[in-house]
Amino acid sequence: MRKARLTILTLLLAFPTSAFSQTPDSIYSKWLLTPEIKKGFDFALSAAKLTYQDFTLRPDYWEVDSARMNEINQLITYPLTLPTTSIEIAEQVGGQNAFNNFTPFLNNTGLYDMFLLQSSEFMVYQYIRPKAEQLMSRSRSFPSNIPSKDPILFKRSFFTLLATLPEEGFVAAYTKKEMDFIQNKFPRTILEDTVEEKLSVDELDSIQKLEEKLTRKFVPLVNASRDHIMNVNIALSFLRSFREASNLMGTLVPSSGKVANEILWEDKKRRAIIGGPGPNHYKGDYALIIDLGGDDTYELTKRPDFSGQIIIDLGGNDKYFALEDYALACGYFGYSVLIDVAGDDLYQGKNFSLGCGFFGCGLLWDQAGNDTYIGDTFTEGAGGFGIGILKDDGGNDRYQAALYGQGFGFVRGVGALLDANGNDNYFAGGKYKELLGLAGEIRYQSMSQGCAYGLRPYLSGGMGFLFDYDGDDQYSVDMFGQGSSYWWGLGALVDFKGNDRYIAQQYAQGAGVHMSLGVLVDSSGNDFYLSKGVSQGSGHDFGAGMLFDLSGNDNYVAESGSQAYGSANGYGIFLDAAGNDGYYVKNRSNTQGAGNPRREYGSIGLFLDCAGTDHYDGNGRDNRFWRAIAPNNMWGVGVDGNFGAADSAQVKK
């Protein structure tokens, strides 16, 4: 019976992408945030001879592949809902309830619903608890000196958590040969090599052809109906372990000690350990670590059977190192949860690390302190065929990644970086060169900071979110990032408070590229935006890109193709709702409300400043409405007006 229910659940979750309904008018009443902003848009659209219904892209413009998310199809159909949707998701996952933080992401990947949660609870009562009793009865040497509010409850919670950890991997969906392909060959299409910049044109072509071949071989393996049971099982186990980890943490009190390398309890067979409150050193592939405090050092390798992993560190300034790829808060054909409760910590990962879910669920949750995160590729909140989350609740933090990080969504994946407060510094790039020279010069790839990426033309991208809730932050990327996406995905960056600085090179700050969606929303503060091109509300090739800044005195600098630029039938929308702002561009022919005339018709660039006294270096002027310069522009429009005092308090959060 249970099997049947699970099968039904699986079929339901694996149901193919739904048909695309027509745009109801009501959908647009939702997205404009305030009546003042709506007034501004009404004027701009009327002046440009456009209607709200014109803003639609076709989900079926390209054949819908097995990885296409329903959410992407919805948003592509109604791209104007992007800013509101992004804010809503940020609010939903930013609350205090830990489960609420993550379940929407599971939802996005089709791995979660209420029925799933009920199944999970059912499993806890039916199987996990008896197993925990059994483990507890066998473990007579369990220490009684654990600093806990309720030692008996702690013991029970600990063994319940241990019982949730699977004793073998979740690899049933694939044969050994297929697993070997997915694990050892396919990642070549994701990972870059700095050596490539020295290769000849023929060598680079053969690498490209090899990657195409690998991708074509990979596509049938990752059909949702194929691996769905495995993925649902991983998600179920992740939820159970995460819930029990939260319960366990509730029983503990922070403590400190001076005794080094004090092991209070260990089960070597199950790779589980409880470390004392002094400085400890953990090295290897642990399934469960509970560390009671102290400045600890972790040197972690990947779990050999890719199953589950939970690490809880209650305090101290800790150092975490991944000794290889797929280690350190990486769910890889399984799940991994790392919760660090306090202290100024250093996390140094390699590829696939620091809140990474690749065919699994990965969570890194740092609850306090000024922390440093360093990763290479697919890191710091990165998900592909699963979810990867990096959540930091406080402190002034530093995030550094090379590629595909800091809220990155790969195929059938959701990646999120959530930072609750503090003045943070985000940097991504600087390692792997972008050899096509799309920016007219050799720059570095970033693909980070609320970014999504798909394997064109075979598999659609996922969803990447970077949500920063407070603090004066600095964001820096090179090519692709800060609310940007490539190939049927969504990249969103939402920053709620603080005076922020956004620096990028190209395809950034609200840029949707090639049938994709990118949005940057900054709710408040006096912000500074700098990018060279195809940025700041820019949509290219049936993509939609939006930059919405809702209040504050802001400055925007760009060279070209920015500040509301539609290219190759894309939509670029720029909105500054309030404040006295400055706009500076170098190339007037494709900025500040410009749409180029590709494919015999055109693209839309819509620039709107709703209030304040503003300064322009470009086509725009304060209290004016303008059209971009022909012939490069056909359907661009810019409006700077006063559409009622746009009180930032009225603007949603």
């Binding site: 009327s46 001879k49 076709r58 039938n569 059209r627």
Partner: protein
């Protein structure tokens, strides 16, 4: 007998070797033409030129029509689109069941038309290709039909202008501008009321391509009950800079609807005759944004 077989083997081997050599050469040039790599950008144009000057490369290039890499596809269109000798193999490819081949073939046929001024060689193939279920294939076929014209093209484009897919309607509206059949002018005016901007704007561009022939239709459209139709007619007349349009536009300038007046103002400024300037300077607006816009247009 053995000698004969040996000779046959040598001849076949030699022919195959030549074929292989040519294929290797074409592939090598194509890699350079389409790599997109900044470091090797200087190789792109010479490689494209070399391929275009090599008619023997056509069969090998046509074999690449199924390419899915966007950059390679674009360069293939650039190369074959300037090789008039490729027309028949590409026409045949347009009938392929493979949607990728059909899309690329139709885009190439559009481009080739710029090098072949006479005849309608591609039309029968495009008429079949435009029935393709895949929307891009259908759209590109319809547009190419507009450029090639010939029997059945007009009806096909008129039908495509009513397609349920907006992309196909856009391509049909754009194609009609190349076809330039007067009987389709009412269809293009009707397209101003389409619920997708791309169709409206492609129709406006196409009407401009008809020059003075479309003027009476546009004057009539200025009196449409649909404001979008009126305003797009005004914009189109402005872009055509038709002095005769000043009088009908002056009536729109008196409309109660500010968007009508704005469209008329901008069109008159584009036409820029003394009468048009006179009309603008005697016109006034109250709404601040319209007022400043009028000031700018008058200064111009």
């Amino acid at each position: 007998m053995i000698r004969f077989l040996l000779a046959l083997f040598l001849l076949t081997s030699s022919a195959l070797a030549q074929t292989d050599t040519l294929r290797v050469k074409v592939d090598s040039l194509f890699i350079r033409a389409s790599s997109g790599l900044l470091k090797y950008r200087a190789l792109e144009e010479p490689s494209k030129k070399a391929l275009r000057e090599m008619p023997t490369a056509i069969p090998y290039l046509v074999e690449k029509l199924a390419i899915q890499d966007a950059r390679e596809r674009r360069e293939l269109i650039n190369i074959l689109g300037k090789m008039p000798d490729a027309i028949m193999p590409v026409c045949s490819a347009a009938l392929s069941p493979n949607k990728d081949i059909v899309k690329t073939a139709c885009e190439i046929l559009s481009a080739i038309r710029d090098t072949i001024k006479d005849g309608h060689a591609a039309t029968p193939y495009l008429l079949k290709a435009r029935m393709h279920p895949e929307l891009q294939a259908r759209g590109y076929a319809v547009f190419a039909l507009g450029k090639w014209g010939g029997g059945g093209a007009k009806e096909a484009l008129q039908e495509a202008l009513a397609d349920s897919v907006n992309f196909v309607r856009v391509e049909a509206a754009a194609g009609l501008g190349y076809l330039k059949v007067t009987a389709t002018l009412p269809n293009l005016i009707q397209a101003f009321a389409d619920d997708y901007y791309g169709v409206r704007f492609a129709a406006a561009n196409s009407l401009i391509k008809f020059n003075n022939i479309s003027l009476p239709y546009l004057y009539k459209a200025l009196e449409s009950e649909n404001p979008m139709v009126r305003q797009l007619a005004a914009e189109t007349l402005g872009k055509m800079r038709a002095p005769e349009a000043v009088a009908p536009l002056s009536r729109l300038l008196k409309s109660q609807l500010w968007t009508d007046r704005l469209a008329a103002m901008e069109a008159l400024a584009e036409i820029d005759t003394p009468t048009a300037r006179q009309l603008l300077s005697s016109h006034s607006e109250e709404e601040p944004l319209l007022k400043t816009r009028l000031e700018e247009l008058t200064k111009k």
